[in-house]
């Protein structure tokens, strides 16, 4: 541009605004450069590295050379990987609907309580959400400990035969789901409560005038108006269900056997216990695609809301 100015000094005056426009154009990209550098180093490079790893054989964590698509075909026939995906799905399908129903009920109750007491109760209700997930796992491990735990003591007090929560497959999955209720109902509850409080009042007043009862008002007005909030809450919850790691790692470690080995735990096991980075990398790409699909649902929902 400077060269241009020197060559045609006569028109310098006329084109003077142009460099300023260009600088404004440049400015918006300059602001993005640091982010792109970070993403290049910590996102693009690792992903390319992982893609390369999928074609490498590994022995004791060291690459042993090109193996073609062997890792890919292995993983597609690897029952243990698909089983961990299946476990994640089953746990989501059981836990999330129950959490959703309970959260809507709780939000309806809590929305009627206002003032200082309401505020304090809400703070108490969302406490589990900021507890370090790993500590949550430890707490529930303590509660479900055989003989020494609270669950055991309560079962004995009620005259029941104590359940071996952490020692059996079904018991461990149930224990993880109960812990999940404690951890995630506050999250759903909080979102739904915020949604409830943002609802307009007119439709409810009109319905009262028309003589609709509480149940009719809930089904015909509250739920349809909350649809967007509920969909956002559910998709975020599904995404987080796929991410589950910390609390299960500290509570069951994936056990007994592999009963609670969800996606992240399985990949971590393949990569860091079996030190098989080739197969782990293939699994990463499969998970990557699944997550892109889930995130795009959330993206469409949240952008639609913004408009």
């Amino acid at each position: 541009m400077a060269v241009k100015d020197e060559v045609k000094p006569r028109v310098t005056f006329a084109i003077r605004p142009r460099p300023r426009v260009r600088r404004k154009e440049m400015f918006k990209y300059v602001l993005l450069i640091p982010m792109f550098v970070l993403l290049l180093l910590l996102f693009v490079y690792p992903i390319v590295y992982a893609l390369h790893s999928t074609f490498e054989g590994y022995m004791y964590g060291r690459a042993t050379g090109y193996v073609g698509i062997e890792n890919w075909s292995d993983v597609f026939h690897d029952v243990s990987f698909w089983a961990s995906l299946g476990r994640t799905l089953i746990y989501s399908v059981i836990a999330i609907p129950i959490e959703l129903v309970l959260s809507v009920g709780l939000a309806l109750v809590y929305s009627q309580i206002t003032g200082i007491i309401g505020g304090m109760l809400r703070t108490v209700a969302i406490l589990p959400f900021i507890v370090m997930p790993l500590v949550t796992g430890i707490i529930w491990k303590l509660i479900f400990l055989p003989n020494f735990g609270v669950a055991d003591a309560m079962e004995v007090a009620m005259g029941l035969k104590p359940v071996d929560w952490l020692g059996t497959n079904k018991g461990a999955v149930a224990a993880v789901i109960i812990m999940d209720f404690w951890m995630w109902i506050p999250f759903l509850f909080l979102i739904i409560l915020a949604g409830l409080q943002a609802l307009p009042e007119e439709p409810f007043e009109a319905a009262l005038v028309d003589g609709a009862n509480a149940w009719q008002r809930f089904v015909k007005i509250t739920l349809p108006l909350l649809r967007q909030t509920l969909m956002v809450a559910v998709i975020l919850r599904v995404i987080d269900a796929f991410r589950i790691f910390d609390q299960v790692y500290s509570m069951t470690g994936g056990g007994p056997g592999v009963a609670t080995q969800f996606l992240s735990l399985h990949v971590a096991d393949v990569a860091f216990n079996q030190t098989d980075f080739g197969h782990a990398s293939v699994q990463l790409f499969i998970i990557f695609v699944i997550m892109l699909f889930l995130v795009s649902i959330f993206y469409v929902l949240s952008e639609r809301d913004a408009k």
Binding site: K28, L31, L32, M35, L38, L39, F43, Y45, P46, Y49, A50, S53, G105, V109, T123, L127, I130, V131, M132, P133, V135, T136, I138, I139, L142, N147, F148, G149, V150, D152, W182, P186, I191, A194, G195, A198, V232, A233, L236, I239, F242, R243, F245, Y249, S250, L263, S264, A268, A271, F272, S281, L284, I287, F288, M291, L292, V295, F298, L301, S302
Partner: protein, 273 residues
């Protein structure tokens, strides 16, 4: 009938509060028991001989992990703000050709919501080769990969709510682009900025998984990784583990009180305001 409804309402509230608080109470009393008392059958619901011995043990031996965790969370939060805020400003304020903004926003969001293990496996190998493995700096970089997208996504939403007429007014008064951003727009977004920073801190402080696989010893191990150590190595040190859990939770509870009002927006990545 109304009385009956009230009973149900308060019954639900009390039941839910007990359900929420009891596990935390259990953690607290476990930390005050001796290890022998933790393992009594049936368990005691009030410690017979409350003692702070476990807290002394944790404070004396685990200070280094608190320092590591603080350094990593503060470092990563600062780096993410430094990089993420200008990017968010650009995405919120300027027009881009075609689907550029959509593509960038989607990539950023996807990174935030991806399973951390997806990045950890290649990062582990890269860190082994570059000497970043088991360093606080390496951990700060790794966390900024997931923290920075959160900052971008949140700040984009906050900044787009500040009317652009303010920018124009500032520019008419002779402010340059950078001065407009730093002196006019960002101060107005200060509450959003503070909330975003605190939430980034909470997420990073609470996270186990990056620290677990990218560190090896006390020179970089974070607090959650050290707490996990009680489980595998010292199978029976329940009381000390509970005490370190309580100490790990406390700072975040204080943070919660600051950001509670804005929590929903942070947790839903701005989708619910």
């Amino acid at each position: 009938m109304i009385l009956f409804q009230k009973c149900i309402k308060w019954g639900v509230v009390i039941l839910f509060s007990v359900w929420t608080l009891f596990p935390l109470y259990w953690l607290l009393i476990t930390s005050l028991k001796t290890n022998a008392e933790v393992l009594t059958d049936p368990p005691t619901f009030v410690p017979l001989h409350p003692t702070f011995a476990s807290y002394h043990y944790v404070v004396d031996n685990f200070g280094v992990y608190f320092v590591n965790s603080s350094a990593v969370s503060v470092g990563s939060t600062l780096l993410s703000l430094l990089i993420g805020v200008p990017a968010a400003y650009s995405l919120a304020r300027f027009r881009f050709a075609g689907g550029f903004r959509t593509v960038v926003s989607f990539i950023v969001l996807s990174i935030r919501m991806m399973l951390p293990i997806v990045f950890i496996v290649p990062l582990f190998q890269i860190y082994q080769n570059t000497g970043l493995y088991n360093t606080k700096l390496g951990l700060i970089f790794a966390y900024s990969l997931v923290d920075m997208p959160f900052v971008v996504w949140m700040m984009r939403s906050y900044l787009s709510e500040i009317p652009e007429s303010l920018d124009e007014a500032a520019m008419v008064d002779g402010c340059g682009r950078i001065r407009t951003m730093l002196r006019v727009v960002l101060p107005l977004a200060a509450p959003g900025l503070a909330t975003t920073a605190v939430m980034t801190m909470i997420f990073t402080w609470n996270d186990l998984v990056f620290g677990l696989f990218l560190t090896a010893n006390s020179s970089a191990e974070t607090l959650p990784v050290s707490i996990i150590g009680f489980l595998s190595q010292y199978q029976t040190y329940w009381s000390q583990m509970a005490a370190s859990g309580i100490l790990a939770i406390l700072p975040m509870v204080i943070f919660l009180l600051f950001v509670q009002k804005y929590l929903v927006r942070g947790l839903t990545a701005g989708a619910v305001k």
